[in-house]
């Protein structure tokens, strides 16, 4: 297993795979196994109605490449630019026997489809007294680093985490991405599956066979006893890098990757803080009502007596994502900011 992979071990043959291919793998195998799994979204194949090649994109990030040639346009459905109708179609289909995987090319597009996500799909089961199930996955790319500007770089995971009825999955490496996607597809509830766009080419060792990683179980990419670092999605990369630097200084960090933020493995965090007494939370999202303060709040409520120092959160500032590279780099949490926060909670 390489750096970013998870604590679990799986037997059998493995290959070095990118995050992109790991997700593609998971979807393809589930589609082979289960004819009710479909994929829909804009350019999930590409080339619909055109004179040139089919499957021209396979998703603008290439994640669904090859699915249409194998499963046909009936199961890999290019749609008009109508995100509300995409999510609605997925939700309605999920209530009627399919297991749709809907793509929001950028998760920033929840703005035009949010009602179908939070008032419809998320609430069916409860509103209808438990009599319906809505097994659907909404895939979306999140995060900065691509110089894509304010409307294509947001995280927004905190918003969906706020909504009861949604499960929110944020893999930080290819191994987790595959196992969590398999679980997401097999899960009977609506799952928001957020892929950080800077990680698509990240590789690690991934089992060839299908495996499902249960939701609500954190991974522990580094173990330690001086300070707990909780990080999510691409921030895990920075947390691990910081932990490795600090390890050389004799500071041992317990890095926790919740992997799914709803449900979230609170216990893993609380148990770690019981040992370390110190907590740094790293999240690329905006700070107010965000995941970082959510975790801080949980620990301040349930793990207060373990704490030996103020909690430190490392997040983006309370601004939109700026375009210019210098600004975007300053906006994003990075290794240096994690190091500074860890030193602060230790020095305090």
């Amino acid at each position: 297993m390489t750096n970013n992979s998870n604590n679990a071990q799986v037997a059998g043959k493995t290959s070095i795979k990118t995050y992109r291919d790991a997700i593609n793998d998971a979807i393809r195998e589930e589609m082979r196994r289960d004819p009710t799994v479909i994929v829909l979204g804009e350019e999930v194949s590409g080339g619909a109605g055109c004179d040139g090649e089919d499957d021209a994109y396979g998703g603008v990030f290439g994640v669904t490449k090859g699915l249409m040639p194998e499963f046909g346009r009936e199961r890999v459905i290019d749609t008009p630019i109508s995100e509300a109708a995409i999510i609605g179609a997925a939700a309605g289909a999920a209530n009627n026997g399919l297991r749709p995987i809907a793509e929001l090319m950028f998760f920033d597009f929840i703005g035009v489809s949010f009602d179908q996500i939070f008032n419809q799909a998320a609430k069916f089961r409860y509103m209808f007294g438990g009599k319906s199930k809505t097994p659907m996955v909404i895939r979306g790319t999140v995060g900065g680093g691509w110089r894509a500007g304010a409307q294509h770089s947001s995280m927004l995971h905190s918003i969906v985490t706020h909504i009861a009825g949604l499960k929110v999955v944020m893999p930080s490496n290819a191994y987790d991405a595959k196992g969590l996607m398999v679980q997401a597809i097999r899960d009977d509830d609506p799952v928001i599956f957020l892929e950080h766009k800077v990680m698509y080419d990240n590789e690690c060792e991934v089992p060839d066979e299908q495996y499902a990683i249960p939701f609500g179980e954190a991974a522990f990419p580094r173990q330690g006893k001086d300070v707990t670092i909780v990080a999510i999605s691409n921030m895990v990369t920075h947390a691990i890098a910081a932990a490795d630097i600090l390890a050389e200084e004799g500071i041992s960090c317990d890095v926790i990757d919740p992997r799914t933020v709803s449900p979230m493995d609170d216990e893993a965090i609380l148990e770690s803080v019981e040992v370390t007494g110190r907590l740094v939370v790293v999240d690329e999202g905006n700070p107010r009502c965000g995941l970082a303060s959510d975790i801080a709040g949980i620990v301040a409520e349930k793990g207060f007596h373990s704490l030996r120092a103020p909690i430190r959160t490392v997040t983006a500032p309370h601004t939109p994502v700026p375009f210019a590279p210098e600004l975007e780099d300053a906006y994003l949490p990075n290794v240096d900011k994690v190091l500074a926060a860890v030193r602060e909670v230790l020095g305090a």
Partner: protein, 323 residues
């Protein structure tokens, strides 16, 4: 006789049940037995029944905030409905949904929807499932003149055409969206023409005339089932009550409702027609009226006697299938 007697009696029974149910809902709401917001569909019964009478349980409908009639027409149990609307734990949704979120998946009733325009994208999904799985089920969405202006409804129409989904879009044009005239909210002269522009067959019918509405929807449903894609049916009709129960309706013209109840009552029109044509006897319909009175009476009594949900266990259950 172009219709079987059994069919006509079934249609009449269904319409009368809706009428009676709604009128009783209004009374029970006024009497304090029904919490929340309730939107009654009395006056619009013919459309619900015309749309649903030929459907099986595996065909799907998606409804609106004004959904009782659609539920009843689709075969939902009126006892379970009344309990739901009263917020009882034995209601169709265990009392968690209420009038605006009533659903009955087993009957192919995908849910009322308290979000105007929330339904049509979902009904596309039901239609897509039918197409993908090859089940030949059709899906119908109910829409209002007001909800026609919600972007979600328009997106859904285009997508239904693009994917050739077996989806019949029914627009109940009752002249109002709350206290705003349909003619104001719709910038176009004709919603039917606007919908035709999306590339689907579109027809406008007199929604007070059960037969006209039934025939139009029948063609549309058949087309959908045969793989011919979506259709828009606009049915002009009258809302007999307020937007919500308790609405003072100051925006309506003097005597408008009175006249409509007199001249545009779809039940009266149905009765007059079947009698004129000699298809049914008055006595048969009167007998149904009596039976339904009893049934509704029973539904209310059962509703009032039904248990309330448990604030601890019921509150926290049914959020997820597993967590």
């Amino acid at each position: 006789m172009p219709y079987q007697e059994e069919f006509l009696l079934r249609a009449y029974r269904s319409m009368r049940t809706i009428r009676e149910f709604e009128e009783r809902c209004i009374a029970e709401f006024m009497g304090g037995n029904v919490p929340g917001f309730v939107h009654a569909s009395n006056g619009q019964e013919a459309i619900a029944v015309a749309a649903c009478i030929d459907l099986s349980d595996s065909d799907i409908i998606g409804s609106t905030h004004r959904g009782h009639g659609h539920c009843i027409a689709k075969g939902c149990d009126i006892g379970g409905m009344m309990k739901e609307i009263m917020g009882r734990s034995t209601g169709l949704c265990k009392g968690k949904g209420g009038s605006m979120h009533i659903a009955d998946i087993d009957k192919g009733m995908l849910g009322a929807n308290a979000i105007v325009g929330g339904g049509p994208p979902l009904v596309n999904g039901a239609a897509l499932a039918s197409k993908t799985l090859g089940t030949k089920n059709v899906a119908l969405s109910f829409n209002g003149d007001g909800s026609a202006n919600q972007g979600t409804a328009m997106e859904a129409m285009n997508m239904a055409v693009v994917l050739q989904l077996p989806h019949v879009f029914i627009y109940e044009n009752n002249g109002y969206a709350e206290g705003t005239a349909a003619n104001y909210g719709l910038g176009c002269d004709s919603l039917t023409d606007r919908n035709a522009g999306f590339g689907m067959p579109a027809e406008c019918v007199d929604g007070n005339d059960f037969f006209a509405t039934y025939e139009a929807i029948k063609v549309a449903t058949k087309r959908a089932r045969d793989g011919g894609g979506p259709t828009s049916i606009e049915a002009k009709c009258v809302r007999f009550d307020g937007h919500f129960i308790g609405d003072p309706q100051l925006y309506r013209g003097k005597d408008e409702v009175k006249n409509a109840r007199k001249n545009q009552d779809c039940l009266k029109i149905f009765r007059d027609r079947v009698i004129k044509e000699g298809w049914l006897k008055t006595a048969a319909m009167d007998a149904i009226d009596k039976e339904i009175k009893v049934e509704i009476e029973q539904a209310v009594a059962d509703g009032l006697a039904a248990p309330h949900p448990d604030p601890v266990t019921d509150l926290m259950s049914d959020v997820y299938c597993s967590y």
